[in-house]
Structure formats: structure tokens, C-alpha cells
Symmetry: C2
Subunit: 138 residues, 2 copies
């Protein structure tokens, strides 16, 4: 979708210099027609395949963290062994398939609205996330 020009602008507006690595990462993340979930190693593979160019792991970590801070990505907590990221930054919930290790978005209409009736003095709610773990039937 996005042209390289768009990403250059997006990066500049975010106070990030538009390097070829960052543009490659943008293309891997934001060219897709649909939003998707990924781990860092997933993403390295996507970039190196799509851009046919090596990229340092450190650069991918740096850029993903920068994008997360800017709100271009969300992190989804699944387990303590790996970080999962999401290019869908809207509030939404997830299925997690324990067998395939795959995350699936739930649409708003798939989950009753969640109402939290308790509040902690001095604290405010930052996010409410539902994780539905799936098992193979039988």
C-alpha cells in the first residue's frame, strides 16, 4: 500500500530519521492489507525476504520499541517466553491458539462489552484486555 515516500514522511513526523532499515520495517509492517501479529524473529524473516536485505537484530528491536512508543504498534502479553506485537493498535481482544501459537483478533461484536466495577484509589485503568486461550477439540 504505502509508498516509500509516505513512510519517510511518517518517520520524519515522528522525529525518527528515515533510514533504509526503518523504511524496510515500515513496509514489512504497514504494507500488508490486513493487520497482523508477529514476534521479532518473525519480523526479521519477513523483512529479509521482502526487502532481500540483511538487517541487524538490534535495529529491529530498536525500531519496534520506537514504533511502540509512538503508538504504531501494540505489545500483546501471551506468556513469559516471547513478546508478541500487533500492527492493530485499536482496542481489541484475542484468541490465542496454544497449539499453533497463533493470535487471532476478536472483533468488538464478538465480545460482550467489559465493565470493571472495582476501582483502586489513585489508579486509573490504562487498558482492559481479554485473552481467550484455545485448545484443540477432543
Amino acid at each position: 500500500m504505502g509508498s516509500s515516500k509516505e513512510y519517510i514522511e511518517k518517520l520524519r513526523k515522528s522525529g525518527l530519521r528515515p533510514t533504509k532499515q526503518r523504511i524496510n520495517i515500515c513496509e514489512a509492517l504497514f504494507d500488508a492489507e490486513k493487520t497482523f501479529h508477529f514476534t521479532i524473529t518473525d519480523l526479521v524473516k519477513i523483512i529479509e525476504t521482502k526487502a532481500n536485505q540483511k538487517i541487524s537484530l538490534a535495529t529491529v528491536y530498536n525500531t519496534i520499541h520506537a514504533f511502540q512508543k509512538k503508538g504504531y504498534l501494540k505489545e500483546i502479553a501471551i506468556n513469559s517466553s516471547q513478546a508478541y506485537f500487533d500492527t492493530n493498535t485499536t482496542d481489541h481482544h484475542h484468541f490465542f491458539d496454544e497449539k499453533s501459537k497463533e493470535l487471532i483478533d476478536l472483533k468488538d461484536e464478538d465480545v460482550h462489552p467489559i465493565k470493571i466495577k472495582k476501582n483502586i484509589p489513585g489508579k486509573k485503568i490504562k487498558s482492559v484486555e481479554v485473552l481467550v486461550r484455545l485448545d484443540s477439540e477432543n
Copy 2:
């Protein structure tokens, strides 16, 4: 609460030999009047203080995993940097205080019942967990 005898019995019934290490772990976990949340390093400190006895990290990991498999503990997914465990094995939801890194149980009446309207063929729901992240106000 529990006497050493009870734990010995519990362990035996679970097919686990009642070693002094496992009994110490049981006391640390199940003597408390209330259920609680902990990380492995938390637990090592609790055991070594309470039992005034050194215990190997490997033994703690082994035993926690054995207890988890038996259903005596639950693991709560908060982030990818550390595993959190819960001595409350009932279905329930959590607040997570991002500042203090503390987990707080939500009671059933604090959260509207959650109804998932989507289903994935061949898969069944194993668990539905809500995590409410808290920030300091202002």
C-alpha cells in the same frame, strides 16, 4: 494453616515424594491465610526466610512446574519478561499495577460476565482471562 503432615499427604497423593524442600515450598505457598501472586525469585526469598534454609533455584522451578501441572497453581501472563504465578486457582481476573508490578485479584462481582460470541471450528475455549492494566492517576 496446613500442618507438615497435611502437605506430606497432599504430596504423596499427587505422586510426589514428600521431601523437605517440597514441604517448605508447600508451607510458603499454602500456609498463607490469603492466596497471593509471586514470581520465582519472590518465592525463593519467602522460602529461605520462612524455613531459614537454602533451596536450589532448580528445585523451585521443578516443584512449581509440578504443582502447576497438578493444578495447585496457575500462571498469569503479564509480560514477556517474567512468569507470574497465582495460588488462587479459581477462574478470576486481574488488575496489574504497572508501577508497583503488583497483581490484584478481581472478584467475580467486579467484572461483568464475559461472553465470547465467536468460535473457531475444531477449537474449544480453554480459558478466558481479563487483564486490566493500571496507571497512576494524573
